[in-house]
Symmetry: C2
Subunit: 250 residues, 2 copies
Amino acid sequence: MGEELTEPGGGVRLYVEAPLGHHVRVTPDEGQAHYLLHVMRAKVGDLLTLFNGRDGEWSARIAEVSKRTCVLECKTQIGAQREVPDLWLVFAPVKKTPADYLTQKATELGVRVLQPVFTRRTIVTRVNTDRMRANAIEAAEQSGRVSVPETREAVGFEKLLAHWPAERRIFFCDEAGDAKPIADVLRDAPDERCAIFTGPEGGFESREREALRALANVTPVSLGTRILRADTAALAALAVWQAIKGDWRA
Amino acid sequence: MGEELTEPGGGVRLYVEAPLGHHVRVTPDEGQAHYLLHVMRAKVGDLLTLFNGRDGEWSARIAEVSKRTCVLECKTQIGAQREVPDLWLVFAPVKKTPADYLTQKATELGVRVLQPVFTRRTIVTRVNTDRMRANAIEAAEQSGRVSVPETREAVGFEKLLAHWPAERRIFFCDEAGDAKPIADVLRDAPDERCAIFTGPEGGFESREREALRALANVTPVSLGTRILRADTAALAALAVWQAIKGDWRA
């Protein structure tokens, strides 16, 4: 029957866009084929896991191999489709290496949407959405997720607020104000659609803080008095949310 | 009176080892002198902040400048000595870039001690303690801490357990077992000396888990079912601890 393709940390899991189902055949993309054939030295009959964010998790085998590509065939469904909690991360983008790190960690921590937003003090002027997407896919594969977070194009602060969905609560990490401690706020919060909103290194401008607080469904939260880097604040708030409101609960 | 040396994120804060007090003069080390004179282009009379982990936070001025070094003179104490909560991070070391990141973030998140430990599945075989110390100092300066976490030499798992202080509770991040959710455990935990203990990418071996659970003051905790990288797990657990048990509380 072939062997399971393994590496430190577990078997190979690949995200694909194609539909998955009994005996369905899938052609991996160029990078995946290279990884399977030349990094993992996969042979016909070897097993791996596939998911596409819609059809659950499938055990598949390598059905054909040619020089440059291969064909994978779904065998059995090994897990149902499941979703992470309905939590978005809205964040002022950071530079390259911290941005990679932030995307990977936020994916492991189980966000559903990654939404970069340009605030006035944001120094980064461009977001590489393709790179963000690639990082999110890799982290989803490695973390055992059956879904990849949606990576959105960056938007300006005013536009984001103007189109903010009324039914989604924003927990806004406010280092400058009189915000209540995040654990106190989350402990008393109802179960609803949520977003964590974190600012750039220099913080939000006061007019941005006012605009945020003027929205009906915004709750400022405090992450203590030490100065956290932008990416630290985002990951810390996501972890605390998952622990108190998310799927780290029993 | 000179001007405050500023950069994105706030004024210059430097950690020094020398005693601090009224009119006390301090000579920065070579790297700090280079940074002040050639990166920040400091001049006599410019102001900065000093701390040493014992004498509080001091406003100092640049009293003398020569080609290669300078002399700083303490003016007024601007903050009392204060400590972070009594929380240690015990962690299986990770490779270079994630290790830098982990040290920086753990410092921002307010740990008192960083203790690397070699478990059976730890892949990294060497910890650069000097580099860890330098990262901790830089993060302490930038995060507004008045103390630098103690960065300890790496030890083996058995040795660590054999010498573990009886009065310090270990919250052990156990991905394999029946551990209770971290928020539930911390909510009911008494205030005491604590450590977060996180394993390597491949997790603890079962005999290590048993050895840990056999200690009197060890509580396993769960961070959910997604697979977290070693550094993500450590940072997530620290953030949740600060939010529920630490100084992010009101």
